[in-house]
Protein backbone atom coordinates (compact mmCIF):
# COMPACT_ATOMS: atom_id res chain seq x y z
CA UNK A 1 0.00 0.00 0.00
CA UNK A 2 1.21 3.50 -0.83
CA UNK A 3 1.12 6.60 1.36
CA UNK A 4 -2.65 6.45 0.83
CA UNK A 5 -3.18 4.58 4.08
CA UNK A 6 -2.85 7.56 6.39
CA UNK A 7 -6.12 9.34 5.47
CA UNK A 8 -8.01 6.14 6.20
CA UNK A 9 -6.15 5.44 9.43
CA UNK A 10 -6.77 8.98 10.65
CA UNK A 11 -10.50 8.94 9.88
CA UNK A 12 -10.98 5.43 11.19
CA UNK A 13 -8.87 5.57 14.34
CA UNK A 14 -8.87 9.12 15.65
CA UNK A 15 -12.59 9.58 16.47
CA UNK A 16 -12.95 6.32 18.45
CA UNK A 17 -9.60 6.86 20.09
CA UNK A 18 -10.47 10.43 21.11
CA UNK A 19 -13.81 9.37 22.56
CA UNK A 20 -12.23 6.43 24.36
CA UNK A 21 -9.37 8.49 25.76
CA UNK A 22 -11.70 11.22 27.00
CA UNK A 23 -14.38 9.09 28.67
CA UNK A 24 -12.51 5.92 29.63
CA UNK A 25 -8.72 6.23 29.76
CA UNK A 26 -8.59 9.65 31.38
CA UNK A 27 -11.08 8.83 34.19
CA UNK A 28 -9.23 5.62 35.00
CA UNK A 29 -5.92 7.48 35.08
CA UNK A 30 -7.39 10.29 37.18
CA UNK A 31 -8.65 7.80 39.76
CA UNK A 32 -5.07 6.84 40.53
CA UNK A 33 -4.12 10.49 41.00
CA UNK A 34 -7.21 11.33 43.09
CA UNK A 35 -6.50 8.36 45.35
CA UNK A 36 -3.44 10.21 46.69
CA UNK A 37 -5.42 13.33 47.63
CA UNK A 38 -7.95 14.36 50.26
CA UNK A 39 -10.30 15.77 47.61
CA UNK A 40 -13.88 16.31 48.77
CA UNK A 41 -15.32 17.22 45.41
CA UNK A 42 -16.90 20.56 46.30
CA UNK A 43 -14.10 22.71 44.98
CA UNK A 44 -11.04 22.19 42.86
CA UNK A 45 -8.88 22.52 45.96
CA UNK A 46 -7.27 19.50 47.46
CA UNK A 47 -4.09 18.47 49.22
CA UNK A 48 -1.83 15.72 48.11
CA UNK A 49 -1.66 13.32 51.02
CA UNK A 50 0.48 10.63 49.43
CA UNK A 51 -0.34 7.18 50.71
CA UNK A 52 -2.38 8.34 53.73
CA UNK A 53 -5.62 7.08 52.16
CA UNK A 54 -4.11 3.64 51.81
CA UNK A 55 -2.94 3.65 55.44
CA UNK A 56 -6.43 4.67 56.54
CA UNK A 57 -7.87 1.92 54.40
CA UNK A 58 -5.66 -0.68 56.05
CA UNK A 59 -7.26 0.15 59.40
CA UNK A 60 -10.80 0.55 58.12
CA UNK A 61 -12.85 -2.36 59.42
CA UNK A 62 -15.63 -1.64 56.92
CA UNK A 63 -13.22 -2.18 54.07
CA UNK A 64 -12.05 -5.50 55.52
CA UNK A 65 -15.64 -6.53 56.12
CA UNK A 66 -16.52 -5.78 52.49
CA UNK A 67 -13.41 -7.59 51.27
CA UNK A 68 -14.34 -10.66 53.29
CA UNK A 69 -17.73 -10.71 51.55
CA UNK A 70 -16.05 -10.40 48.17
CA UNK A 71 -13.85 -13.33 49.15
CA UNK A 72 -16.90 -15.45 49.94
CA UNK A 73 -18.42 -14.52 46.61
CA UNK A 74 -15.14 -15.34 44.93
CA UNK A 75 -15.11 -18.81 46.45
CA UNK A 76 -18.78 -19.65 46.11
CA UNK A 77 -20.00 -18.09 42.90
CA UNK A 78 -17.60 -19.77 40.43
CA UNK A 79 -17.70 -23.19 42.10
CA UNK A 80 -21.47 -23.40 42.47
CA UNK A 81 -22.25 -21.86 39.09
CA UNK A 82 -19.76 -24.01 37.19
CA UNK A 83 -20.84 -27.23 38.90
CA UNK A 84 -24.54 -26.65 38.27
CA UNK A 85 -23.77 -25.44 34.75
CA UNK A 86 -21.67 -28.52 33.94
CA UNK A 87 -24.23 -30.86 35.43
CA UNK A 88 -27.15 -29.39 33.52
CA UNK A 89 -25.14 -29.12 30.30
CA UNK A 90 -24.14 -32.78 30.60
CA UNK A 91 -27.75 -33.79 31.06
CA UNK A 92 -28.81 -31.71 28.09
CA UNK A 93 -26.11 -32.76 25.66
CA UNK A 94 -25.01 -36.28 26.54
CA UNK A 95 -27.63 -37.18 29.15
CA UNK A 96 -29.87 -39.34 27.00
CA UNK A 97 -28.49 -42.86 27.13
CA UNK A 98 -31.00 -45.12 25.55
CA UNK A 99 -28.58 -46.81 23.18
CA UNK A 100 -27.00 -43.72 21.70
CA UNK A 101 -25.33 -40.69 23.22
CA UNK A 102 -27.72 -37.86 22.68
CA UNK A 103 -29.20 -34.96 24.51
CA UNK A 104 -32.41 -35.47 26.41
CA UNK A 105 -35.66 -34.68 24.72
CA UNK A 106 -36.63 -31.02 24.77
CA UNK A 107 -33.06 -29.88 25.36
CA UNK A 108 -33.39 -26.78 23.21
CA UNK A 109 -36.45 -25.74 25.20
CA UNK A 110 -34.54 -26.16 28.46
CA UNK A 111 -31.70 -24.09 27.04
CA UNK A 112 -34.17 -21.37 26.03
CA UNK A 113 -35.50 -21.23 29.57
CA UNK A 114 -32.18 -21.43 31.42
CA UNK A 115 -30.60 -18.68 29.36
CA UNK A 116 -33.48 -16.24 29.76
CA UNK A 117 -32.19 -14.43 32.91
CA UNK A 118 -29.27 -13.25 30.75
CA UNK A 119 -31.74 -11.01 28.94
CA UNK A 120 -32.74 -9.17 32.10
CA UNK A 121 -31.02 -6.11 33.42
CA UNK A 122 -29.47 -6.22 36.84
CA UNK A 123 -32.20 -3.79 37.90
CA UNK A 124 -34.97 -6.17 36.85
CA UNK A 125 -33.24 -9.11 38.56
CA UNK A 126 -32.61 -7.12 41.72
CA UNK A 127 -36.14 -5.72 42.00
CA UNK A 128 -37.71 -9.07 41.14
CA UNK A 129 -35.73 -10.99 43.74
CA UNK A 130 -36.20 -8.35 46.42
CA UNK A 131 -39.91 -9.04 46.00
CA UNK A 132 -39.40 -12.82 45.93
CA UNK A 133 -37.53 -12.52 49.23
CA UNK A 134 -40.14 -10.18 50.71
CA UNK A 135 -40.91 -11.81 54.09
CA UNK A 136 -44.60 -10.98 54.00
CA UNK A 137 -45.73 -11.13 50.39
CA UNK A 138 -42.78 -12.85 48.73
CA UNK A 139 -42.88 -15.97 46.61
CA UNK A 140 -40.26 -17.82 48.62
CA UNK A 141 -41.82 -17.68 52.07
CA UNK A 142 -45.23 -18.40 50.57
CA UNK A 143 -43.77 -21.48 48.88
CA UNK A 144 -42.18 -22.70 52.11
CA UNK A 145 -45.43 -22.23 54.01
CA UNK A 146 -47.38 -23.96 51.27
CA UNK A 147 -45.33 -27.14 51.65
CA UNK A 148 -45.46 -26.99 55.42
CA UNK A 149 -41.92 -25.79 56.05
CA UNK A 150 -43.00 -22.70 57.97
CA UNK A 151 -39.93 -23.03 60.15
CA UNK A 152 -37.65 -22.31 57.19
CA UNK A 153 -39.39 -19.05 56.35
CA UNK A 154 -36.98 -16.19 56.88
CA UNK A 155 -36.83 -12.46 56.59
CA UNK A 156 -34.05 -13.20 54.05
CA UNK A 157 -32.62 -9.82 53.06
CA UNK A 158 -33.46 -8.42 56.50
CA UNK A 159 -31.40 -10.98 58.39
CA UNK A 160 -27.66 -10.19 58.60
CA UNK A 161 -26.86 -13.92 58.79
CA UNK A 162 -28.81 -14.81 55.67
CA UNK A 163 -28.76 -11.75 53.40
CA UNK A 164 -25.37 -12.36 51.76
CA UNK A 165 -26.21 -15.97 50.87
CA UNK A 166 -29.56 -14.84 49.52
CA UNK A 167 -27.71 -12.49 47.18
CA UNK A 168 -25.24 -15.21 46.15
CA UNK A 169 -28.21 -17.41 45.27
CA UNK A 170 -29.58 -14.69 42.99
CA UNK A 171 -26.20 -14.36 41.26
CA UNK A 172 -26.05 -18.11 40.69
CA UNK A 173 -29.63 -18.07 39.44
CA UNK A 174 -28.84 -15.33 36.95
CA UNK A 175 -25.58 -16.82 35.66
CA UNK A 176 -26.06 -20.59 35.42
CA UNK A 177 -27.95 -20.46 32.12
CA UNK A 178 -25.12 -18.70 30.37
CA UNK A 179 -22.68 -21.43 31.34
CA UNK A 180 -25.09 -24.23 30.43
CA UNK A 181 -25.11 -22.82 26.90
CA UNK A 182 -21.37 -22.13 26.89
CA UNK A 183 -20.46 -25.62 28.15
CA UNK A 184 -23.07 -27.14 25.86
CA UNK A 185 -21.42 -25.54 22.83
CA UNK A 186 -18.04 -26.88 23.98
CA UNK A 187 -19.48 -30.38 24.52
CA UNK A 188 -20.81 -30.42 20.99
CA UNK A 189 -17.23 -30.25 19.75
CA UNK A 190 -16.22 -33.34 21.75
CA UNK A 191 -16.42 -36.39 19.45
CA UNK A 192 -19.39 -38.57 20.36
CA UNK A 193 -17.33 -41.78 20.24
CA UNK A 194 -15.40 -40.72 23.34
CA UNK A 195 -18.64 -40.73 25.32
CA UNK A 196 -19.77 -43.92 23.61
CA UNK A 197 -16.52 -45.63 24.52
CA UNK A 198 -16.92 -44.52 28.13
CA UNK A 199 -20.47 -45.81 28.20
CA UNK A 200 -19.36 -49.15 26.73
CA UNK A 201 -16.68 -49.44 29.36
CA UNK A 202 -19.39 -48.99 31.94
CA UNK A 203 -18.22 -45.66 33.27
CA UNK A 204 -20.75 -44.12 35.62
CA UNK A 205 -22.15 -40.71 34.86
CA UNK A 206 -20.16 -39.32 37.73
CA UNK A 207 -16.91 -40.77 36.34
CA UNK A 208 -17.82 -39.62 32.84
CA UNK A 209 -18.31 -36.11 34.12
CA UNK A 210 -15.07 -35.80 36.08
CA UNK A 211 -12.82 -38.05 33.98
CA UNK A 212 -13.99 -37.02 30.52
CA UNK A 213 -16.14 -33.91 30.41
CA UNK A 214 -14.15 -31.76 32.82
CA UNK A 215 -10.69 -32.47 31.31
CA UNK A 216 -11.94 -32.02 27.75
CA UNK A 217 -13.73 -28.79 28.57
CA UNK A 218 -10.94 -27.42 30.72
CA UNK A 219 -10.23 -24.41 28.48
CA UNK A 220 -13.85 -23.34 28.63
CA UNK A 221 -14.09 -23.96 32.36
CA UNK A 222 -11.00 -21.84 32.89
CA UNK A 223 -12.55 -18.96 30.95
CA UNK A 224 -15.75 -19.39 32.95
CA UNK A 225 -13.79 -19.30 36.18
CA UNK A 226 -12.01 -16.06 35.35
CA UNK A 227 -15.20 -14.45 34.13
CA UNK A 228 -17.14 -15.45 37.25
CA UNK A 229 -14.30 -14.25 39.46
CA UNK A 230 -14.55 -10.83 37.82
CA UNK A 231 -18.33 -10.85 38.33
CA UNK A 232 -17.77 -11.74 41.99
CA UNK A 233 -15.41 -8.79 42.47
CA UNK A 234 -17.65 -6.45 40.50
CA UNK A 235 -20.90 -7.62 42.08
CA UNK A 236 -21.93 -4.23 43.23
CA UNK A 237 -24.94 -3.28 41.09
CA UNK A 238 -27.07 -6.10 42.50
CA UNK A 239 -26.09 -5.27 46.08
CA UNK A 240 -26.82 -1.62 45.43
CA UNK A 241 -30.35 -2.45 44.28
CA UNK A 242 -31.21 -5.18 46.77
CA UNK A 243 -29.70 -4.13 50.09
CA UNK A 244 -27.32 -1.18 49.67
CA UNK A 245 -24.86 -3.24 51.69
CA UNK A 246 -27.13 -3.72 54.68
CA UNK A 247 -28.48 -4.83 57.06
CA UNK A 248 -25.63 -3.60 59.27
CA UNK A 249 -23.03 -4.02 56.50
CA UNK A 250 -23.73 -7.76 56.19
CA UNK A 251 -23.87 -7.63 52.38
CA UNK A 252 -21.38 -4.83 51.86
CA UNK A 253 -18.94 -5.43 49.00
CA UNK A 254 -15.92 -3.45 47.92
CA UNK A 255 -17.71 -1.76 44.99
CA UNK A 256 -20.46 -0.58 47.32
CA UNK A 257 -17.75 0.84 49.63
CA UNK A 258 -16.27 2.85 46.75
CA UNK A 259 -19.70 4.20 45.85
CA UNK A 260 -20.81 5.00 49.40
CA UNK A 261 -17.56 6.60 50.49
CA UNK A 262 -17.31 8.66 47.29
CA UNK A 263 -20.85 9.73 46.55
CA UNK A 264 -22.37 9.23 50.01
CA UNK A 265 -19.69 10.81 52.19
CA UNK A 266 -18.07 12.94 49.44
CA UNK A 267 -14.68 11.48 50.32
CA UNK A 268 -13.60 11.20 46.72
CA UNK A 269 -9.92 10.79 47.51
CA UNK A 270 -10.52 7.95 49.95
CA UNK A 271 -13.14 6.31 47.75
CA UNK A 272 -10.75 6.32 44.81
CA UNK A 273 -8.08 4.69 46.98
CA UNK A 274 -10.48 1.84 47.77
CA UNK A 275 -11.20 1.59 44.04
CA UNK A 276 -7.49 1.34 43.25
CA UNK A 277 -7.09 -1.49 45.76
CA UNK A 278 -10.07 -3.21 44.22
CA UNK A 279 -8.49 -2.91 40.77
CA UNK A 280 -5.22 -4.50 41.85
CA UNK A 281 -7.09 -7.27 43.65
CA UNK A 282 -9.18 -8.05 40.58
CA UNK A 283 -6.09 -7.98 38.41
CA UNK A 284 -4.12 -10.33 40.64
CA UNK A 285 -7.06 -12.69 41.08
CA UNK A 286 -7.40 -12.94 37.31
CA UNK A 287 -3.69 -13.64 36.91
CA UNK A 288 -3.69 -16.19 39.74
CA UNK A 289 -6.80 -17.89 38.37
CA UNK A 290 -5.20 -18.17 34.95
CA UNK A 291 -2.01 -19.60 36.46
CA UNK A 292 -3.72 -22.05 38.80
CA UNK A 293 -6.02 -23.45 36.18
CA UNK A 294 -3.32 -23.80 33.55
CA UNK A 295 -3.07 -27.33 32.30
CA UNK A 296 -1.81 -29.06 29.29
CA UNK A 297 -4.29 -28.79 26.53
CA UNK A 298 -5.94 -31.98 25.38
CA UNK A 299 -6.09 -32.22 21.62
CA UNK A 300 -9.17 -33.79 20.16
CA UNK A 301 -8.63 -35.80 16.99
Amino acid sequence: MKHGKWPLLATFLLPPLALYAYFVLSPYAQTFVISTTDWHGLSRNYNVVGLDNFKKLWNDEHVWNALLHNLWLLLLLPVVTILIGLFLATMLNVGGRSGRITGVRGSSFYKLVYFSPQMLSVAVIGVLWTEVYNPRSGLLNAALRAIGLDGLAQIWLGDPDVALWAIVAVMVWANVGFYVVLFGAAMQSVPKDIYEAAALDGASRFATMFKITVPLLWDTIQVAWVYLAIIAMDSFALVQIMTRGGPSFSTDVIGERVYDVSFGDSQFGYGSAIGVVMFFLTLSITVVALQLTRRERIELS
Binding site: L17, L19, T31, L128, S137, A207, Y227, F268
Partner: protein, 306 residues
Protein backbone atom coordinates in the same frame (compact mmCIF):
# COMPACT_ATOMS: atom_id res chain seq x y z
CA UNK B 1 -19.32 -57.51 26.37
CA UNK B 2 -15.74 -58.21 25.41
CA UNK B 3 -14.70 -54.90 26.88
CA UNK B 4 -15.14 -56.41 30.30
CA UNK B 5 -12.17 -58.68 29.94
CA UNK B 6 -9.84 -56.15 28.39
CA UNK B 7 -7.66 -54.74 31.12
CA UNK B 8 -7.30 -51.04 31.50
CA UNK B 9 -4.31 -49.93 33.59
CA UNK B 10 -5.90 -46.61 34.42
CA UNK B 11 -8.87 -48.19 36.06
CA UNK B 12 -8.72 -48.81 39.79
CA UNK B 13 -9.62 -52.24 41.19
CA UNK B 14 -12.58 -50.77 43.03
CA UNK B 15 -14.00 -49.27 39.89
CA UNK B 16 -13.40 -52.54 38.08
CA UNK B 17 -15.36 -54.35 40.72
CA UNK B 18 -18.18 -51.87 40.54
CA UNK B 19 -18.32 -52.25 36.80
CA UNK B 20 -18.38 -56.05 36.93
CA UNK B 21 -21.10 -56.18 39.53
CA UNK B 22 -23.16 -53.68 37.62
CA UNK B 23 -22.62 -55.44 34.34
CA UNK B 24 -23.10 -59.00 35.53
CA UNK B 25 -26.87 -59.39 35.92
CA UNK B 26 -27.48 -58.99 32.21
CA UNK B 27 -29.11 -56.24 30.28
CA UNK B 28 -32.51 -55.51 31.79
CA UNK B 29 -31.05 -54.47 35.13
CA UNK B 30 -28.89 -51.98 33.35
CA UNK B 31 -31.67 -50.39 31.38
CA UNK B 32 -33.67 -50.23 34.58
CA UNK B 33 -30.83 -48.32 36.23
CA UNK B 34 -30.61 -46.01 33.24
CA UNK B 35 -34.33 -45.55 33.28
CA UNK B 36 -34.32 -44.31 36.86
CA UNK B 37 -31.31 -42.14 36.09
CA UNK B 38 -33.16 -40.62 33.17
CA UNK B 39 -36.07 -39.81 35.43
CA UNK B 40 -33.57 -38.24 37.81
CA UNK B 41 -31.86 -36.18 35.16
CA UNK B 42 -35.16 -35.01 33.78
CA UNK B 43 -36.14 -34.21 37.34
CA UNK B 44 -33.12 -31.98 37.84
CA UNK B 45 -33.60 -30.29 34.50
CA UNK B 46 -37.21 -29.66 35.33
CA UNK B 47 -36.43 -28.32 38.80
CA UNK B 48 -33.95 -25.78 37.45
CA UNK B 49 -36.40 -24.86 34.72
CA UNK B 50 -39.07 -24.19 37.33
CA UNK B 51 -36.64 -22.22 39.48
CA UNK B 52 -35.92 -20.01 36.49
CA UNK B 53 -39.46 -19.57 35.25
CA UNK B 54 -41.45 -19.34 38.48
CA UNK B 55 -40.15 -15.95 39.69
CA UNK B 56 -40.69 -14.45 36.23
CA UNK B 57 -44.16 -15.93 35.92
CA UNK B 58 -45.02 -14.82 39.42
CA UNK B 59 -44.04 -11.23 38.61
CA UNK B 60 -46.21 -11.24 35.49
CA UNK B 61 -49.19 -12.69 37.36
CA UNK B 62 -48.74 -10.28 40.26
CA UNK B 63 -48.89 -7.42 37.77
CA UNK B 64 -52.57 -8.23 37.27
CA UNK B 65 -53.40 -8.48 40.98
CA UNK B 66 -54.69 -5.91 43.40
CA UNK B 67 -52.41 -4.78 46.21
CA UNK B 68 -54.50 -6.76 48.64
CA UNK B 69 -54.17 -9.96 46.64
CA UNK B 70 -50.42 -9.45 46.40
CA UNK B 71 -50.04 -9.02 50.13
CA UNK B 72 -52.37 -11.72 51.36
CA UNK B 73 -52.10 -14.48 48.75
CA UNK B 74 -48.71 -14.56 47.00
CA UNK B 75 -49.43 -17.87 45.23
CA UNK B 76 -53.00 -17.10 44.22
CA UNK B 77 -54.11 -16.19 40.73
CA UNK B 78 -55.37 -12.66 40.12
CA UNK B 79 -59.12 -12.36 40.68
CA UNK B 80 -59.44 -10.52 37.38
CA UNK B 81 -57.05 -9.06 34.83
CA UNK B 82 -56.38 -5.54 36.04
CA UNK B 83 -54.88 -3.86 33.00
CA UNK B 84 -55.08 -0.50 34.74
CA UNK B 85 -52.00 -1.52 36.78
CA UNK B 86 -50.05 -1.27 33.56
CA UNK B 87 -51.62 2.06 32.68
CA UNK B 88 -50.61 3.42 36.07
CA UNK B 89 -47.08 2.08 35.74
CA UNK B 90 -46.78 3.50 32.24
CA UNK B 91 -48.02 7.00 33.11
CA UNK B 92 -47.76 7.70 36.86
CA UNK B 93 -44.81 5.35 37.25
CA UNK B 94 -43.20 7.10 34.25
CA UNK B 95 -42.24 3.73 32.73
CA UNK B 96 -43.43 5.08 29.38
CA UNK B 97 -41.08 8.04 29.65
CA UNK B 98 -38.21 5.73 30.64
CA UNK B 99 -38.91 3.52 27.64
CA UNK B 100 -38.68 6.51 25.30
CA UNK B 101 -35.46 7.73 26.93
CA UNK B 102 -33.88 4.28 26.70
CA UNK B 103 -34.91 4.03 23.05
CA UNK B 104 -33.38 7.41 22.19
CA UNK B 105 -30.12 6.59 23.94
CA UNK B 106 -29.97 3.16 22.35
CA UNK B 107 -30.42 4.38 18.77
CA UNK B 108 -27.55 6.81 19.17
CA UNK B 109 -25.23 4.67 21.27
CA UNK B 110 -25.64 1.50 19.23
CA UNK B 111 -25.08 3.28 15.91
CA UNK B 112 -22.02 5.07 17.24
CA UNK B 113 -20.59 1.95 18.90
CA UNK B 114 -20.91 -0.14 15.76
CA UNK B 115 -19.53 2.58 13.47
CA UNK B 116 -16.58 3.58 15.64
CA UNK B 117 -15.90 0.02 16.77
CA UNK B 118 -15.91 -1.40 13.26
CA UNK B 119 -13.72 1.34 11.78
CA UNK B 120 -11.18 1.14 14.60
CA UNK B 121 -11.11 -2.64 14.49
CA UNK B 122 -10.68 -2.63 10.73
CA UNK B 123 -7.78 -0.17 10.87
CA UNK B 124 -6.11 -2.22 13.59
CA UNK B 125 -6.70 -5.58 11.91
CA UNK B 126 -5.79 -4.69 8.35
CA UNK B 127 -3.12 -1.98 8.48
CA UNK B 128 0.46 -2.13 9.62
CA UNK B 129 1.65 1.07 11.24
CA UNK B 130 3.80 2.17 14.10
CA UNK B 131 1.84 2.01 17.35
CA UNK B 132 -0.74 -0.48 16.10
CA UNK B 133 -0.15 -2.82 19.06
CA UNK B 134 -0.16 0.05 21.56
CA UNK B 135 -3.53 1.32 20.37
CA UNK B 136 -4.94 -2.20 20.29
CA UNK B 137 -3.91 -2.95 23.86
CA UNK B 138 -5.08 0.46 25.04
CA UNK B 139 -8.54 -0.45 23.78
CA UNK B 140 -8.55 -4.06 24.92
CA UNK B 141 -7.03 -3.24 28.32
CA UNK B 142 -10.24 -1.34 29.09
CA UNK B 143 -11.96 -4.69 29.60
CA UNK B 144 -9.79 -5.33 32.66
CA UNK B 145 -11.01 -2.39 34.71
CA UNK B 146 -14.09 -2.49 36.91
CA UNK B 147 -16.35 0.42 35.92
CA UNK B 148 -16.69 1.48 39.55
CA UNK B 149 -13.07 2.58 39.40
CA UNK B 150 -13.89 5.31 36.86
CA UNK B 151 -17.04 6.63 38.51
CA UNK B 152 -15.71 9.63 40.40
CA UNK B 153 -13.61 11.19 37.62
CA UNK B 154 -16.18 10.20 34.99
CA UNK B 155 -18.83 12.22 36.78
CA UNK B 156 -16.61 15.32 36.66
CA UNK B 157 -15.37 14.68 33.11
CA UNK B 158 -18.96 14.50 31.87
CA UNK B 159 -19.94 17.55 33.93
CA UNK B 160 -17.05 19.57 32.51
CA UNK B 161 -18.17 18.65 29.00
CA UNK B 162 -21.58 20.08 29.94
CA UNK B 163 -23.22 16.71 29.34
CA UNK B 164 -24.34 15.73 32.80
CA UNK B 165 -28.05 14.89 32.84
CA UNK B 166 -28.26 14.74 29.05
CA UNK B 167 -29.10 11.77 26.86
CA UNK B 168 -26.41 12.56 24.23
CA UNK B 169 -23.87 12.53 27.05
CA UNK B 170 -25.06 9.06 28.02
CA UNK B 171 -24.84 7.93 24.38
CA UNK B 172 -21.22 8.97 24.15
CA UNK B 173 -20.32 7.35 27.47
CA UNK B 174 -22.05 4.07 26.55
CA UNK B 175 -20.18 4.08 23.26
CA UNK B 176 -16.83 4.74 24.89
CA UNK B 177 -17.28 1.95 27.43
CA UNK B 178 -18.43 -0.51 24.75
CA UNK B 179 -15.41 0.06 22.53
CA UNK B 180 -13.00 -2.32 24.32
CA UNK B 181 -15.08 -5.44 23.73
CA UNK B 182 -16.31 -4.33 20.32
CA UNK B 183 -12.80 -3.57 19.07
CA UNK B 184 -11.44 -6.79 20.57
CA UNK B 185 -14.12 -8.91 18.97
CA UNK B 186 -14.20 -7.24 15.56
CA UNK B 187 -10.40 -7.04 15.21
CA UNK B 188 -10.29 -10.81 15.57
CA UNK B 189 -13.12 -11.08 13.09
CA UNK B 190 -11.60 -8.81 10.43
CA UNK B 191 -8.34 -10.77 10.66
CA UNK B 192 -10.12 -13.95 9.65
CA UNK B 193 -11.51 -12.45 6.44
CA UNK B 194 -9.61 -13.54 3.30
CA UNK B 195 -7.14 -10.99 1.91
CA UNK B 196 -7.66 -12.14 -1.68
CA UNK B 197 -10.99 -10.35 -1.96
CA UNK B 198 -9.67 -6.99 -0.81
CA UNK B 199 -6.60 -7.32 -3.05
CA UNK B 200 -8.83 -8.03 -6.05
CA UNK B 201 -10.98 -5.01 -5.22
CA UNK B 202 -7.92 -2.76 -4.89
CA UNK B 203 -6.58 -3.94 -8.24
CA UNK B 204 -9.95 -3.14 -9.77
CA UNK B 205 -9.41 0.44 -8.65
CA UNK B 206 -11.52 0.41 -5.51
CA UNK B 207 -10.47 3.11 -3.04
CA UNK B 208 -9.71 2.15 0.57
CA UNK B 209 -12.87 3.77 1.98
CA UNK B 210 -15.07 2.20 -0.67
CA UNK B 211 -13.36 -1.10 0.00
CA UNK B 212 -14.30 -0.92 3.65
CA UNK B 213 -17.93 0.10 3.25
CA UNK B 214 -18.80 -1.89 0.14
CA UNK B 215 -16.69 -5.04 0.52
CA UNK B 216 -15.32 -5.61 4.01
CA UNK B 217 -18.31 -4.48 6.06
CA UNK B 218 -20.77 -6.77 4.23
CA UNK B 219 -18.31 -9.64 4.60
CA UNK B 220 -18.09 -9.01 8.35
CA UNK B 221 -21.86 -9.18 8.79
CA UNK B 222 -21.97 -12.28 11.06
CA UNK B 223 -19.44 -10.71 13.44
CA UNK B 224 -21.24 -7.38 13.37
CA UNK B 225 -24.54 -9.07 14.24
CA UNK B 226 -23.00 -10.96 17.18
CA UNK B 227 -21.36 -7.91 18.69
CA UNK B 228 -24.42 -5.81 17.86
CA UNK B 229 -26.67 -8.12 19.89
CA UNK B 230 -24.18 -8.04 22.73
CA UNK B 231 -24.06 -4.25 22.75
CA UNK B 232 -27.81 -3.90 22.35
CA UNK B 233 -28.42 -5.91 25.51
CA UNK B 234 -25.59 -4.21 27.40
CA UNK B 235 -26.94 -0.74 26.58
CA UNK B 236 -30.58 -1.66 27.14
CA UNK B 237 -29.77 -3.15 30.54
CA UNK B 238 -27.14 -0.63 31.65
CA UNK B 239 -27.72 0.46 35.22
CA UNK B 240 -24.57 1.81 36.87
CA UNK B 241 -23.56 4.47 34.34
CA UNK B 242 -26.97 6.21 34.27
CA UNK B 243 -27.14 6.08 38.08
CA UNK B 244 -23.97 8.16 38.22
CA UNK B 245 -24.66 10.42 35.23
CA UNK B 246 -28.41 11.11 35.31
CA UNK B 247 -29.97 12.84 38.31
CA UNK B 248 -32.98 14.36 36.54
CA UNK B 249 -35.91 11.95 36.89
CA UNK B 250 -37.33 12.94 33.51
CA UNK B 251 -34.17 11.66 31.84
CA UNK B 252 -34.03 8.28 33.61
CA UNK B 253 -33.54 5.17 31.50
CA UNK B 254 -35.57 2.02 32.08
CA UNK B 255 -33.32 0.00 34.40
CA UNK B 256 -32.60 3.01 36.55
CA UNK B 257 -36.23 4.11 36.57
CA UNK B 258 -37.40 0.68 37.63
CA UNK B 259 -34.97 0.57 40.55
CA UNK B 260 -36.15 4.06 41.57
CA UNK B 261 -39.76 2.92 41.31
CA UNK B 262 -38.98 -0.02 43.59
CA UNK B 263 -37.51 2.32 46.19
CA UNK B 264 -40.52 4.63 46.10
CA UNK B 265 -42.94 1.65 46.27
CA UNK B 266 -41.36 0.85 49.60
CA UNK B 267 -42.97 4.02 50.96
CA UNK B 268 -46.18 4.07 48.97
CA UNK B 269 -47.07 0.40 49.09
CA UNK B 270 -48.34 0.39 45.48
CA UNK B 271 -47.09 -3.12 44.75
CA UNK B 272 -49.28 -3.84 41.75
CA UNK B 273 -47.80 -0.85 39.93
CA UNK B 274 -44.30 -2.05 40.71
CA UNK B 275 -45.00 -5.54 39.33
CA UNK B 276 -46.62 -4.03 36.26
CA UNK B 277 -43.53 -1.89 35.72
CA UNK B 278 -41.31 -4.92 36.23
CA UNK B 279 -43.32 -6.88 33.67
CA UNK B 280 -43.16 -4.01 31.17
CA UNK B 281 -39.41 -3.81 31.62
CA UNK B 282 -38.71 -7.51 31.11
CA UNK B 283 -41.28 -8.72 28.60
CA UNK B 284 -40.04 -6.94 25.45
CA UNK B 285 -36.52 -8.38 25.73
CA UNK B 286 -37.86 -11.83 26.60
CA UNK B 287 -40.14 -11.80 23.55
CA UNK B 288 -37.31 -10.68 21.26
CA UNK B 289 -35.16 -13.38 22.85
CA UNK B 290 -37.75 -16.11 22.26
CA UNK B 291 -37.77 -15.19 18.57
CA UNK B 292 -34.02 -14.83 18.03
CA UNK B 293 -32.78 -17.23 20.74
CA UNK B 294 -30.24 -19.01 18.55
CA UNK B 295 -28.53 -15.84 17.34
CA UNK B 296 -28.64 -14.27 20.79
CA UNK B 297 -27.16 -17.29 22.58
CA UNK B 298 -24.45 -17.56 19.95
CA UNK B 299 -23.77 -13.83 20.04
CA UNK B 300 -23.44 -13.63 23.80
CA UNK B 301 -21.32 -16.74 24.24
CA UNK B 302 -19.07 -16.02 21.24
CA UNK B 303 -17.16 -13.38 23.14
CA UNK B 304 -16.34 -15.89 25.87
CA UNK B 305 -14.95 -18.51 23.54
CA UNK B 306 -11.88 -16.50 22.61
Amino acid sequence: MSTLTSSDPARTPAAEEAVTTRRAPAKDKRSFVDGTLNVFSHGFLLVWGLLTVLPLLWAVLSAFKSDNEILTDPWGLPGKLRWDNFTRAWTHGHIGQYFVNTGIVLVGSLTLTMLLGATAAYALARYQFWGNRIVYFAFVGGMMFPVVLAFVPLFFVVRDAGMLDTLPGLMLVYTAYSLPFTVFFLTAFFRTLPTAVSEAALIDGCGPFRLFFRVMLPMAKPGLISVGIFNFLAHWNQYLLPVVLLKDENKYVLAQGLAALAVSEGYRGDYSRLFAGLTLAMLPVLVVYAVFQRQIQAGLTAGQMK
